[in-house]
């Protein structure tokens, strides 16, 4: 990323470690998220190899359990979330016409804490194996009695990375509420900003119960708490409640930004404004609200009673209504549009039917009596992969192809892109559609093998082959990234797609201050409005002056490292032979963490100004 920078005297590594620039942090999120995504994807392939034939012994049951746990945990917390944050980081400040997020320091802090949390979870492999109780970590399976050290890494790794996610979310909310350019009213915000705002609110209210739940599990495992031990007055179902109070909104945390991306890509390539903008905003809010009211549908078979189950079943089905509104709005946006089917649009438009399939099975699962049949079978696995891959991953792919030119200064290769899309789309349906049927004939999820002669061999084989096709698609994407980096034409125009929103009004590459003059927004789709009704440039809302910028800082990195050390020390309390006493490690972590916070509090950091001449010089260079 060749952003013009006023601080050229830093080394590249130091620059990236200390950066507080939202665009660079977006790239960091993108890289970290992709690495975790590939890692968890490899785990899925290993599991599919194991399940390829009956009574296969490619993996042991224990390894399979560890892979299944890490696959789910990494995909949700360390792959999907950071990839979404990558786009939110990059796009939201540009779309609302801001120079940066509200708290650039906190933005960097969020990234590094997330990153070190993920690292803490990942090092479990080197200390006796990963967690093995499923990504939901139900007690008593995850209690000290049944689960080893891996679960301690799970609890503390997620705790740490959750803090990172939480502070980033607070940052996004404040950014969207306080930092909008003049004229950018709430109802003129692009839908991606709206979903970003709503998702951030969901994170604030969903990740905090998770933090509390993980703390309880940690206290049980490391300090001998009795929360989940029935003999001591504890309650095992409590964990399920706390987990799903977080876990269900988490689904919407991931899928709403994907909705946002789709709502940007479809209008851009249909050459029409988004149909039913107001309804879309309203539907987003309703989904977010209802998302908190449905967690018990994960627990229908626990036995909470018919009244409870019915209430939650109806609330769950209710979510289909706002989601349906969205589906129809996307269809009507495309209806009568001049559609360009490039890779971004292929991903975005194919998202719509795929997501509907996931939604339909969702409503099926919401019916309590039949849920007793579906529960814990491959039907559920198929359902949520249709939501997560058919919804979130397709959305992320669309976003990648759409915003790539703005982020990196060149497009991804279209031929390879379309190849990737078809491989991915076919592979995906091949893997997961058949799993509906597997589930209906009774194959339970999370088993590492099955017997011969039960009619499951062929379908599992097909599913496994499909997963390799999907893997090949991701390989093509990686090849595309490398190939395009060397061979693709550099973008010199602001707006390679002839798009609608404010991020396309900035020059490519974007100067570190984004906008030399804050733009005046006059309409929804402000950039398109100026192209049609104005002279094709944004009207400035302020005179050109010195631009105030935040200083970079290494403290976010140090705080992340401190929390990693602290967490690792806590895990050491359950290890048998520690070379150094755990309290020394914990102490080091605490000192690093709180010491950095103290320095941050004591040292007033007013940032610096880019002088006017410099701004003019940079503007001349990029235009």
């Amino acid at each position: 990323m060749a952003t013009a920078t006023a601080t050229k005297d830093k080394s590249v590594l130091w620059d990236w470690l200390t950066t507080v620039d939202h665009k660079k942090l977006a790239v960091l999120y993108l890289i970290a998220g992709t690495l975790f995504f590939v890692k968890a994807g490899m785990m899925a392939l290993f599991m599919r190899i194991q399940l390829m034939s009956a009574e296969n012994d490619f993996l042991t049951g224990q390894t399979f359990n560890e892979l299944i746990t890490m696959h789910g945990t990494i995909m949700l917390f360390l792959a999907a979330t950071p990839l979404i944050f990558a786009f939110m980081n990059f796009v939201i400040p540009l779309q609302i016409g801001a120079r940066d997020v509200a708290f650039p320091f906190v933005n960097a802090l969020g990234f590094w804490i997330f990153f070190f949390g993920g690292l803490l979870l990942s090092v479990s492999w080197f200390f006796g194996g990963g967690p093995d109780a499923g990504w939901t970590a139900y007690v008593p399976l995850s209690s000290g009695e049944y689960a080893d050290l891996g679960l301690d890494f799970y609890v503390l790794g997620l705790q740490v990375s959750g803090i990172g996610t939480l502070v980033s979310a607070i940052n996004f909310i404040v950014t969207i509420i306080n930092m909008r350019a003049p004229g950018m009213t709430m109802m003129r915000m692009p839908l991606f900003c709206w979903t970003g705002l709503v998702v951030s609110i969901l994170i604030v209210f969903a990740f905090t119960p998770l933090a509390a739940g993980l703390a309880l599990l940690m206290l049980d495992r490391i300090f001998g708490g009795q929360f989940f031990i029935p003999d001591m007055g504890g309650n095992a179902v409590l964990w399920q409640h706390i987990f799903w109070i977080f876990g269900h909104p988490e689904v919407y945390i991931l899928v709403l930004p994907a909705f946002g991306i789709i709502s940007e890509v479809i209008p851009a390539f249909s050459r029409k404004r988004l149909f039913g903008y107001t309804a879309m905003v309203f539907a987003t809010l309703v989904i977010a609200f209802l998302g908190f009211m449905v967690w018990v549908h994960h627990m229908f078979t626990v036995g909470l009673g018919p009244i409870t189950n019915s209430v939650f079943a109806i609330a769950t089905m209710g979510i289909a209504v706002p989601t349906g509104i969205k589906i129809f709005n996307w269809l009507f946006t495309m209806w009568g549009g001049k559609i360009t089917f490039n890779t971004a649009m292929l991903c975005a438009s194919s998202f719509v039917p795929t997501f509907v399939l996931g939604g339909v099975t969702g409503v099926m699962l919401a019916m309590v009596p039949v849920d007793y049949l579906y529960h814990d079978t491959y039907f559920v696995v198929a359902h949520f992969h249709y939501i997560i891959i058919g919804g979130i991953v397709l959305g992320l792919l669309a976003g990648t192809y759409y915003w790539y030119p703005k982020m990196f200064g060149h497009k991804l290769n279209e031929k390879l892109g379309i190849l990737m899309f078809w491989l991915f789309y076919i592979g995906f349906h091949m893997t997961f559609f058949i799993q509906h049927i597997l589930g209906l004939i009774g194959m339970p999820r999370r088993v590492y093998t099955y017997l011969e002669g039960q009619g499951m061999e062929t379908m599992n084989l097909v599913s496994s082959i499909g997963s390799f096709v999907m893997g090949a698609a991701i390989l093509v994407l990686v090849i595309n990234v490398v190939y395009s980096a060397f061979n693709s034409e550099r973008i010199t125009v602001n707006d390679p797609w002839d798009a609608r929103t404010l991020e396309w009004s900035t020059p490519t590459p974007i100067p570190e201050y984004n906008f030399a003059q804050t733009p005046q927004v006059r309409s929804l789709d402000p950039w398109f409005y100026e192209k049609v009704h104005g002279d094709g440039t944004m009207k400035p809302a302020e005179p050109m002056t010195d631009i105030h910028m935040p200083n970079g800082s290494i403290l976010p990195f140090v705080i992340g490292l401190g929390l990693f050390t602290w967490g690792f020390g806590m895990v050491m309390m359950n290890m048998e032979n520690t070379i150094v006493p755990p309290f020394l490690v914990i102490g080091t972590g605490v000192i690093l963490t709180f010491g950095s916070m103290l320095i941050r509090s004591i040292k007033e950091d007013h940032g610096y100004h880019i002088p006017l001449e410099q701004v003019k010089k940079i503007e001349k260079e990029v235009s």
């Binding site: 607070i170 404040v174 604030v204 509390a212 009795q226 929360f227 504890g234 309650n235 409590l238 706390i242």
Partner: protein, 206 residues
């Protein structure tokens, strides 16, 4: 520049919110407190669910002593009052007054923390260890987490007092003091709920 404030006529009436940085901090911190509320709510829910689970160990009625909790409550409520008064002083640009009131807040908070430690030690002597029962674990976790918040708040406010002991009120430190006092109020509100849910319901047997 959007963030600049005319200081020629003295500090504005709301020095904590007159810069963009201040406004952002103000809003961001409120949202953070929203998240904290939910986190505490989860711990409250856990406590409510498990408070009957004494597993043969000491129960709430046997342990809790109203006079002690009353003193603690009074200390914390008063400290909240002094921190409000400190904010009034800040808005009137009376720096010395603000500093004194903040110091009183810290002293009251220290008193509270001392009593809490004494309380915990007493309970352990009465046979309520952390691992005794689900009631014990959830009680110590909820009240202890609140205590940890008090400790963090004390360290924070003390740091601010020492750092800015000679600087007067500026547009940079006003948001910092204001946000710290918000945090202190939050701790106080949580205590009101702990007092009701843990202690009153524990003794009243509701």
């Amino acid at each position: 520049m959007a963030g600049s404030v005319d200081l020629s006529k003295g500090l504005p009436s709301h020095p904590e919110k007159s810069t963009l940085e201040g406004k952002n901090k103000f809003l961001g911190f409120w949202i953070f407190l929203g998240g904290e509320t939910i986190m505490f709510a989860t711990f409250f829910g856990t406590f409510l669910g498990l408070r009957e689970g004494t597993a043969g160990g000491p129960s709430a009625e046997e342990l809790f002593s109203m006079p002690l909790v009353f003193i603690m409550t009074m200390l914390l409520l008063t400290s909240s009052l002094t921190s409000v008064l400190a904010m009034f002083s800040m808005k009137k640009n009376n720096f010395k007054n603000m500093l004194v009131l903040m110091i009183v807040t810290v002293l009251l908070g220290l008193g509270f923390l001392g009593f809490e430690i004494y309380e915990f030690v007493e309970y352990v002597h009465h046979g309520l260890g952390y691992t005794t029962s689900a009631f014990a674990s959830s009680f110590y976790t909820l009240v202890g987490l609140h205590g940890a918040h008090v400790l963090f708040g004390l360290c924070w406010i003390t740091t601010l007092i020492i750092r800015y002991s000679r600087s007067g009120i500026t547009l940079t430190n006003a948001p910092k003091f204001y946000v710290a006092s918000l945090y202190w109020h939050f701790i106080d509100v949580v205590w009101v709920f702990i007092f009701t849910v843990v202690y009153l319901m524990g003794i009243g047997g509701a």
